[in-house]
Amino acid sequence: MPPSDPNEDAQHVMSSDKAAVSRALNLVEDRRLESQARVAALLAALKDAPKAADGHRVGLTGPPGVGKSTLTSVLARSVRRRGLTVGVVAVDPSSIRSGGSLLGDRARMSFDPTDAGLFVRSLATAGEVGGLAYAVNSAVRVLAAAYDMVVIETTGVGQSEVDVVDVADTVVLVIQPGSGDVLQFLKAGIMEIPDILVVNKADQEELARRAVADLQGAIQTAQAVGAAGGQDADWQTPIVATSATQGTGIDALIAALEQHRKHIQSSLAARRRQGEVRWVLDLFSRKHGEHGVSTLGGPDRLEALAKRELDGGQTPLALCEQLSRGYVAALGKTP
């Protein structure tokens, strides 16, 4: 097949053409060296998509088994009923031994296959230890150009949360009643306080009330010890009780999402840029370690460099490749 025109491809993506969105996602997943120029051109062409600026990128994360996929499915349907379109990227871990993965999120979702306004793509972490999939950052950009809301669903409490912060405007942590570990992590300040906390499986009122009360206590403790203050100090993390299987609490969750989106409106561009900078630095230091970071001048210089390049229109993925090449070149020069 002859290579397509990136601007034309971008136009199709921006008009939410499913086949074009899918092709674009295939392209940004492509790790071949010879594809990088095309990836960069596509992402550059999507940079100023009208939907991307106005849209909302929601990160949904939490321990396994709390019902994130079902919640994503119910949330997406409710958002669709309000007339907004939704793109979902569901991230699952790759097997370290085989490199393969089982992407099972679709199995828990029910959706209308004829709905042009809902798109779900599963991605494997592809060997990124403890992190989000290599292509997630770019995939979110593609989906954000095509759909009003992008949901990034990922499993885990700990490292992957940090990654979700890098690509999402609003981080939602989903737990279920009796998630003692999460309470401990929060209290100890090991975990950042998310923008919104969801207690899912709150089918029984008494249990849910107690879980919400426990969480309020944990957040207060965390704030008292001054640890992990979240992304900004003037946001009071709401706690929402939901039951994805019964469909309750979803309106309250959507209201909380809207409220947070409004809250960050003025700082959105800076926030997203900050996330991209962190993502680039995370990916680079995972690939090349301390030595890589110090070879290129240490964390502060590297951060400033990343910010400058991204402000100048470079895309995160291309920037990371550029830094890698810089590091390899520098290695060659050192005796």
Partner: protein, 668 residues
């Protein structure tokens, strides 16, 4: 003094054949012939639309009407099914779960039409929706709603149909999904505990009558080829159930604590290769549930020798019935007391199973009980892992299966000379004729009455009143199965259960030929990723209503383990959904699994829809119980490969799949 052991013969167990197909009228004829052959009870197989709450005119029912059982949409169908069979004299077992409340209502309404008082009815509704989430996949609603339906049926029958078995707690399907004997025991018991706790919580049964409910609980069990262990498993069931009912529920009447069970012996181990050997397997498996007088089955139905090839014919089922009759009437088995009382070997093995099962029961209760362990996927994952281990052992030759991985050479079997005649084929016209009959039914009934009856169903579902009375009224009013289920879908929504595959791990050998093969496959996929830029991505889909997901799950896990990115969609997806998923996920290959016999309708539809969506170059493979003639037709329609139960070497399938992706990439 009487000769040792000689005494009056025991009454034999109830002999049934699980049957039903095409239409109510055709099935009625089959039941009459079966009874004439000496069968002593009826076992009704419903088709998948009936089991999952759809009428024949629903798009999801396409290809499934009358396939694995009889379609029953309304009281007219139920009347036809039992035409000339007086219900006060029948003992009818109905394999029905999510729609059990509805089918029992139709049965009761039909009896009332025959002038039979419903208090005298005898029989069984399977009504174990919990295991549907784990194995059979015909659930509709979320677990809490399912538990409510289960308890509504139980608390209704305890007084209104006192001789009815309102539930058959099924360990049968757990073994079919790969459960070990310990798991079978443990998960059946936690399900029973979950149900009894839920009945107690309704507050509808007075404390002093709770023993009556416990006494009506019955089980549906499996028996595999390791028949000594299986025999001990049945004895372990008896002991454990006695313990649970005594300790947890304080039942003092020993009769009410008795472990009552029916059996269908193992289908999972029946082979497509040398299928005549299955008759021997079936007979040996039957011994496990009959030899112990102290733990003997109340009712037995046997599979047919050719089940792995397709739908059995009446003659095949008759052969299995004859095996039961010979054991019960020709042999001296029923003349003796328990044969193993005091045997140290049987005692020790039984004790071992009791202990290990009890430990697993405690584990699940610690995790919040059966429903919670279903919702988190804990039990499902355990089953998927056990099944993967079983398949791996067969593939590696560690577990011998005669005619499959050992003693493969042999003379050709005259029984399968003409394969297409060795199975039953359902007339493809059944679908259309059932739709037409349904349309006529809807035209001629009093629609004001059905509307009112459905409104009442919806109202009751929102309260905690029992749904049975409203459902029986709706049955009399002419409401259909799909309408009844849809009314409840409005209230409770639908549920997609955990698949258990994502977290499942399989112990693989680190050296030897098997490890080398896996290593080679992984290297090929790594190399392919280098060339394509992305990892090869496989979509595993189960179109249609069939919930038997073993095959799809094992393919998904194996594919992940050799290095594919695998999108697994779970059960019951429409061809439209599969195409939408293929498009959105950007997959390189699609695998479809169908065991209900509806492959000729569903697979070509997926292929055609892919072409329409511009995805015609993605290779599609199909797996299932697919007769050779059908496989030819599928290949002619553009299917890249067809796999059946005889393809037990998953590594070979994986190698084929990699070839296909490779070829497709090279062509682009």
């Amino acid at each position: 003094m009487a000769e040792y052991g000689k005494r009056e013969r025991d009454k034999p167990w109830i002999m049934r054949t699980y049957s039903g197909h095409s239409t109510a009228t055709a099935s009625n004829e089959l039941y009459r012939t079966n009874l004439a052959k000496g069968q002593t009870g009826l076992s009704v197989a419903f088709d998948l639309p009936t089991q999952t709450g759809y009428d024949a005119d629903d798009p999801l029912a396409r290809g499934e009407v009358g396939k694995v059982g009889v379609p029953v949409s309304h009281i007219g169908d139920m009347r036809a099914l039992f035409d000339g069979l007086p219900l006060d004299q029948m003992n009818t077992s109905m394999t029905i779960n999510a729609t059990a409340v509805w089918l029992l209502s139709l049965y009761i309404a039909t009896a009332e039409d025959q002038g039979v008082d419903h208090h005298v009815l005898r029989g069984t509704t399977q009504n174990d929706i919990i295991k549907e989430y784990l194995s059979r996949g015909t659930h509709i609603f979320p677990p809490a709603a399912s538990m409510r339906l289960i308890t509504d049926l139980i608390t209704y029958t305890v007084d209104e149909v006192p001789k009815w078995n309102p539930i058959n707690i099924c360990s049968y399907h757990l073994q079919e999904a790969g459960a070990t004997p310990t798991q079978e025991l443990a998960y059946a018991l936690v399900t029973a505990i979950g149900v009894l706790d839920a009945v107690k919580a309704t507050g509808r049964v007075p404390e002093n009558e709770f023993g009556k409910v416990v006494g009506r609980m019955s089980f549906f069990v499996n028996a595999g080829i390791r028949f000594v262990e299986e025999l001990c498993k049945m004895r372990a069931f008896v002991e454990l159930w006695d313990r649970v009912t005594r300790e947890r529920y304080g039942v003092t009447d020993a009769k009410q604590r008795r472990f009552r069970y029916g059996v269908q012996v193992n289908s999972l181990g029946l082979t497509e290769q040398q299928p005549e050997n299955n008759v021997i397997r079936i007979v040996l498996e039957m011994l496990a549930v009959t030899l112990s007088k102290d733990a003997r089955a109340r009712a037995i139905q046997l599979p047919a020798w050719n089940e792995a090839l397709g739908l059995p014919r009446p003659w095949d089922q008759q052969w299995s019935l004859r095996a039961q009759q010979i054991l019960a009437y020709e042999t001296d088995l029923l003349e003796y007391d328990d044969l193993f009382d005091g045997s140290p070997v049987v005692r020790a093995k039984t004790q071992q199973l009791v202990d290990s099962a009890w430990a697993e029961v405690q584990e699940v209760l610690k995790r919040g009980g059966a429903v919670e362990a279903v919702e988190t996927g804990y039990i499902k994952q355990k089953l998927v892992e056990s099944n993967a281990a079983r398949l791996r052992a067969i593939e590696a030759g560690e577990q011998i299966v005669v005619g499959v991985n050992k003693y493969i050479e042999g003379a050709a079997s005259p029984l399968t000379e003409n394969l297409d005649d060795a199975i039953l084929t359902v007339d493809p016209e059944v679908d259309a004729s059932q739709r037409a009959a349904l349309a006529r039914w809807k035209e001629t009934r009093d629609s004001a009455a059905t509307d009112a009856a459905l409104a009442e169903i919806e109202r009751v579902a929102r309260t905690d009143e029992n749904l049975m009375a409203a459902s029986i009224a709706a049955a009399h009013a002419g409401v259909t199965t799909g309408e009844w289920a849809n009314a409840l879908r409005q209230v409770w929504g639908e549920y997609r259960a955990p698949t258990g595959v994502a977290g499942a791990t399989v112990k693989a050998s680190r050296s030897g030929a098997a490890a080398e093969t896996i290593g080679r496959l992984r290297k090929r996929l790594d190399a392919l990723e280098e060339r394509m830029g992305r990892r090869a991505k496989l979509l595993v889909g189960k179109p249609g209503l069939d919930g038997h997901s073993n095959g799809a799950e094992q393919i998904a896990i194996k594919a992940r383990d050799v290095g594919f990115d695998v999108v697994y969609e779970g059960i019951r997806v429409s061809p439209e959904q599969i195409v939408a998923s293929a498009l959105e996920e950007g997959v390189h290959l699609i695998g479809l699994s169908i065991l209900s016999g509806s492959h000729l309708a569903l697979v070509p539809e997926v292929v055609q829809r892919l072409r329409d969506a511009g995805l015609g170059d993605i290779p599609v493979v199909a797996g299932g119980i697919i007769p050779e003639a059908d496989a030819d037709r599928l290949r002619a329609e553009g299917v890249a490969a067809v796999y059946t139960p005889k393809d037990f070497e998953l590594d070979n399938i994986m190698s084929d799949l990699i070839d296909m992706v490779d070829r497709q990439h090279a062509a682009e």
